[in-house]
Amino acid sequence: MSLLEVDDLTVTYRTGGGDVPAVRGVSFALEAGQKLGLAGESGCGKSTMALALLRLLPKTARLTGEIRFDGEDILTMSWGRLRAVRWAGASIVFQGAMHSLNAVQRIGAQIAEPIRLHSKATEAEIRRKTGELLEHVGLPARRADAYPHELSGGQRQRVMIAMALACDPKLIVADEPTTALDVMIQAQILTLIESLVAEQDISLLMISHDLSVLADTCDRLAVMYAGRIVEEGPAAAVFGAARHPYGQALAAAFPRIGDPASRRRPQGLAGDPPDPAELPTGCAFHPRCPARLDHCDRVDPALWPTADDDRRAACVHVLPDEGLSLLTKEPA
């Protein structure tokens, strides 16, 4: 049994302007101790996915499908049980640490709160544990008395990580944990996350628009486009030789310094990601696809195993020939 199993998850926001299908049938599994990176451009549904995992979506969101954490069904579990899972099972680190922290409460108190709620520790034990957590994420224990605005962006992100670790979770979901941080601070935070998950054998679902960062940090990568996973496999394989034309384009958009192929040759894709409320027919990527075939505006391929083991891609180009001929047959 995998630690986290997501099966055909869909999330649709109901809005005044109609339904927004933000996640359109996503399935994946995350094993204990594994690090999975979820990549894709803004609006492709990454944060919606992350929020769905812990049922943190607004009321306007409608979910279908199944999410099992440690064997338990998240979508049907009671609120009480869900609260426990949110801290002690799987915890989440968000992008904008400033907004996620309470501005008028000292950071030590914010870290202590979940420990108090979810353990029988005494006040002295809680204080000790808070100090330990701060030191663990590279902040002096005396910073417990600081308010969020007294800290830099990198330090606030460290506090968020300390809070996520407070109840010894099995899984951490990190949604753009280093976006908007400077390169060196980003490197500090990534090193910290990597060492913590390795040390404590925590599973990691890391979400980012930066495929190169994910490729470097994670074991496996999933690339999302317009609410679907379009490619999935071992990190180095996906980043180095993607099978889906979108995965290829996204990887090429991150130049490798020293590589003559990207020198004076910036790579991009014409057009923009689609508006989920107005998706193209067939494969959602076909209007931008450099490898488009005639029938790509009609067939919408599922995530399919590629010729190699352990990789999947949702593209007619990876379907076996017989599958392709079936799909491309003109309707009678």
Binding site: M184, D210, A252, I257, P266
Partner: protein, 336 residues
Amino acid sequence: MSDPILSAEDVHVEFEARRGGGRARAVDGVNLDIAPGEIVALVGESGCGKTTLARTLLGLERPTSGRVLHRGTPLAYTSKALKRFRRDVQLVLQDPSGSLNPRHTVYDAVAEGLRIHGDVPNERERVADALSRAGLRPPERLFLRFPHELSGGQRQRVVIAGALVLEPNVIVADEPVASLDASVRGEILALLLRLRDELGLAALVVTHDLGLAWNIADRVAVMYLGRIVETGPVEKILTAPEHPYTQALLSVLPDAPGSPVVLQGEPPDPTRIPSGCRFHLRCPVLASGAAATAGVDGACRGEDPGVLAGGTAVQAACHYARAVSSSTGQAAAARP
């Protein structure tokens, strides 16, 4: 190199520090030349003074000391002279949604520059021309659109068209693609390269992204705490850097070879620039003892390695790099 179009000559820019306590030396001695048709990337951590230097080169900020030269002539800070200067040197802003007025059509946004300069003849033609140079074709179809009806990439092209309409020879672009998605970024960078090839347009591109420099720049200047600490051709500086700061910046990139040299602490504070080499408190070469072995640790702590010259030569403001390169008899690391 051919005579520069735009130069900084020992430029210093100081501000009253925002949170009291002394003055911030945001730019603390910079020489920089931009030649016709050249793309120069200015890179460094946030707060190192990139935007301040760029604004000073545009005449938007006046140097506390030193000067900015336009085609060899010092900039005069009168409104008439600045107006003339800005026909030749144009700014491209970072955030297209912030720099476009949501109530102005694409046509008006692009024509604005012409109107400021009182250049009304052939307005329509020139606006169309600028839009198509920026890759928005056919331009007439976009004339009456509003910013919210455009994609992020299209908005950034409109901002670029607004800079191109005055037919400048240099553009200064501050983080031109930072707010764009990865796949769209490449298209905009390709546009900057094409403008250089087709129009001979020079560019100073301010960025925190070294990959971007590799993608489009001819030359790179690495800034640290108000100074350019290493500069030279992109191929050299990004593949064989000599300054430990440049080395560290490159080492933390996700697919860099070897183990990352993660500098600890926050980016330093321009109100308190360390004496000696300004990088010495964070320098991994000094911390490892290598500088002591080379006999320069005293200099690192006590002697300012000085302001690098302008021009195109490879230079690093580092006592250790200078000692190592002179002892191995290689091309001098620090002499222009």
